[in-house]
């Protein structure tokens, strides 16, 4: 599988030399939206690459295109022009189904509004992506429970999301994003909907589980206070990405 190959290429051989592909590579990426008959360019020829194990903060005011960029990287959306490669796979060349499968296997996503599935319990939410990949729940549960334990919610495994606080929900969402052990985690304003203190705790947890575990975390936020903790800070401005 791609996953093994990639991991070998990156981790197994140790140093991220020329052989290891960057986690994310953006090439001439453009995204424009049709708006009342006029083109509105949100991303304008973005070229960039993110390396393994980094915590990259994507800053930009509201409407600058942060979410759009994350959606393009995860393959949820398609660019108007240019290419996105993730872990050496050019996902913009994949068809819809393969993009979905790639996302399911290699990318974790954390949303601003948590987006847990209300009909599933905490534990089921965490195992869902892998269950969709056809794995049996029983074999997934130990890992999922370990993760829930890491985020401090093992005792709430059978609760439904609407019984949890915002911070707790986001912690479940983090567990879900990490359950399939992705190398790349995308977080779109994960603390945007939480109070400062809770946001701080969630951020710490997220960093602990991603960067500290050798994963790449790409996090969009409009909050500049987070910037100091990042390995790299990118600013999205007028469709351009600047350090």
């Amino acid at each position: 599988m791609i996953k093994e190959r990639v991991r070998e290429a990156m981790v197994g051989e140790g140093a991220p030399g020329e052989t290891a592909p960057p986690v994310v590579r953006l090439e001439g990426l453009c995204k424009a939206f049709e708006e009342g008959g006029r083109q509105r360019v949100v991303l304008d020829k973005v070229d960039y690459q993110f390396d393994r194990g980094q915590f990259v903060v994507l800053l930009g005011h509201s409407g600058s295109g942060k979410s759009t960029l994350l959606n393009l990287i995860s393959g949820i959306d398609r660019p108007s022009e240019g290419h996105v490669s993730v872990l050496g796979t050019r996902i913009t060349a994949l068809n819809e189904r393969d993009r979905t499968l790639f996302r399911r296997d290699h990318i974790g996503f954390v949303f601003q509004f948590f987006n847990l599935i209300p009909t599933l319990t905490v534990l089921e939410n965490v195992t869902l992506p892998q269950e969709l990949a056809g794995r049996a729940r029983r074999e997934l549960e130990p890992t999922a429970l370990r993760l829930l334990d890491r985020v401090g919610l093992a005792d709430r495994r059978d609760a439904h999301p609407d019984k949890l606080s915002g911070g707790e929900q986001q912690r479940v969402a983090i567990a879900r994003a990490l359950a399939h052990d992705p190398l790349l985690v995308l977080a779109d304003e994960p603390t945007g909907n939480l109070d400062d203190e809770t946001g701080e705790r969630v951020l710490a947890l997220l960093l602990e589980l991603t960067r500290d575990a050798g994963r790449t975390l790409l996090m969009a936020t409009h909050n500049p206070d987070i910037a100091p903790r990042a390995d790299r800070v990118l600013q999205l401005h007028d469709g351009r990405l600047v350090e």
């Binding site: 189904r97 979905t100 599933l120």
Partner: protein
Amino acid sequence: MMVSIDLANGSARRAFALSTDAITGKATHRVAGGPTGLDEAVYRDIRVAAGFSPAAPVVEGYVGVPELSGQPLRLVGIDPFAEPPFRDYFAPAAGGANGGSLDASALTTFLTEPNSLIISADAAAEAGIALGDTLTVNVAGREIAARVVGLLRPADDVSRRALGGIVFTDIASAQEMLDLRGRLSHIDLIADDEAALAPIAALLPPDASIETAAARQNAVQQMTAAFEFNLSALSLLALVVGMFLIYNTVTFSVIQRRPLFAVLRMLGATGGQLFALILGEAVLLALLGSLLGLGLGVLLGRGVVGLITQTINDFWFAVNVQGVSVPPSSLIRGLAVGVGAALLAAIVPAIEAARTAPQSTLRRSTLESRIRRLLPWLVVAWAALTLAGAALLWLRGGGLFTAFAGLFAVLIAAALLAPPLTDVFMRLVAPLTGRLLGALGRLAPRDIIRSLSRTSIAVAALMTAVSVIVGVSIMVGSFRGTVIEWLDQTLQADIYVSPPNVTANRVIGALAADAVATARTWPGVARAVSSHTVQVQLPQFGRLVQLVAVDGDVSNGNRPYAWVRPDLGDDPWPALMAGEGVIISEALALKENLPTPPPDITLPTAGGPRDFPVLAVFYDYSSDQGSVFIGDATYRTLWDDARVSAVGLFVEPGQPVDEVTAALAARFAGRSDVLVQSNEALRRGSLEIFDRTFAITSALRLLAIIVAFIGVLSALLSLQLERARELGTLRATGMTRRQLWGLTLLETGLMGATAGLMALPVGYALAWILVYVINVRSFGWTLTMDLRPEYFIQALLVAVGAALLAGVYPSIRVGNMEIASAIREE
């Protein structure tokens, strides 16, 4: 749908009323005779001896005129000189402003030339018939040439339309054609009050009586009342299912605009204003929809009217419907009902809109928890309503109205049970589907439970529709089975000889005497039984029934009886032949609510009314009008009528039935007034009529399914709107498009299965009510319920199939959604 049935019903009824009116004209009373009519001398007596005027003699009967119309027509023999006070289109053509419909020369020809006809100018123009053309008048198979000598152009529209179904001739020709020499059908009178009629009453023969024009019309219309009522109930049902649809649609539009409403609320719109907005929209849409429905209804009505007319012609009397008339009242009623129903159905979603909180995200779950709290109460409501329905059904003397009220109560109660049952069923299947299908199998039932306010409405709509299908299928199937068995038992003779019928199910007219004699003595025939059917009005009940004079049992003792007087053993036939009394049909006993044992039946004989003890009650599925069997000898002496309308022949044992039948048919070849039918052909004919009668129910079944289908579809679409973010998340976290299709179809499939499972008992209950209550009360027929697994399997398949089909579009739609937009975080 409702409009169309209303229109078609109305058209048939009006066509009948019109033609009755056109014939009754301004008459207030009529002198009516027995089965063979009145002696024409009575008319002379009325005019001369009693000195009464105005009075007009009428001879009438049903005939076919193929050149003019495919439907049976009324041949009416009149005396043009006596006519003007009654029917103004016969007023002299003195050149009055609007009276000049016939010219004098036409009248002269009419009087002097035998077999001359006057028909409506419109009907003639439509059929391409000109003055002077010769038409074929078919009277019970005899064909008589007649010439058109006059065209009627009544000034008013009403008469013009009515006249389309009538052919006029002179009294003498009518008597000749209809084989009523020296007889009159009735005499029309105009009297200011009853007192003026006293001298006439004094000189009438015992078998004649004076009745008001209205009473007569009532007796005739009563025959089809039950049929029409049934049709109306069916259209009401369509309306109920339609209301689900409106509910779903309005709900959909409310959900779609919830963000907008939230903003409006924040800007200061009150809940009341939103409520008014939604209701206003509903009214507007309902107006539009109803107008469209009216248009469609009129179109459909044209189609349905044929079916209804055919049925009425088959069973009760000849109606000639000239197109569908569209009276404003029918349209207004359709419009009012449409808008009313829409308003009613829109109230809940309007309340929902009114309660939109300024921040819209929380709404859904609060509504759902409200539904959840409602669940136990729904069960209570179901029990109460079902009990009420059962009570209504139990009410014996309740008649059709309470029976249908009971039926609807049971059906609506069942719909109330849909939310709690859907809930329970989903909880039951969740572990199973979860085990079998993994995550999707776990998600689907929970999603259904979570959005119970949407899903259970769809389930209820589908369940209602499928129950109706099951109920009607079982009813029709049972009915058919009962009729087949009854035909098997009752029609035992091998060959049947009768005049061909203008209408399919009733014998009108009589066989020529030589044909009767030939048939009776045909070589190879062991035994012959004859019957003669006439229509009489029972003075006891004011009901028109068929009086059948029989000289032997065509069923050879196999006829099933509902009741036989205990002292007669199980065969009342010998007593009947001995003239000890009459045998009445179950329809008569049930419709008049006769006790067991039934009281004596009064029959209007030529010598005046006479009581006859009832020997037995027999099953008769050929007519719901009520029949009375009387011994042939008794009839002949009391009514002085020698005619025979049908002969049944039993072939000698050992003789080849087919050959005897063929030989007899060959003997009558070329005679259009004699029809020889084998036992099998007769049975087949009867079943054809049966199937034609129920053809309209299949249209209804289809309609129910379509409406339910749209119900499920719109429920799914509104659900998807509500769950857009959730579905987007599923896709973002790795659900493939195919898995999402699977999820959607699994959900609709589960909803369909729930509806289908619920529809089994509910459909059975409906069938039970239809068979044992509605049918008994409307037609007086007791049927044997015939349960076959097909009906239930079919119901399940239909429910799941319709639901899956309804899921196709939503699942494609949801598959193509833009994930990015669905999960956008604003």
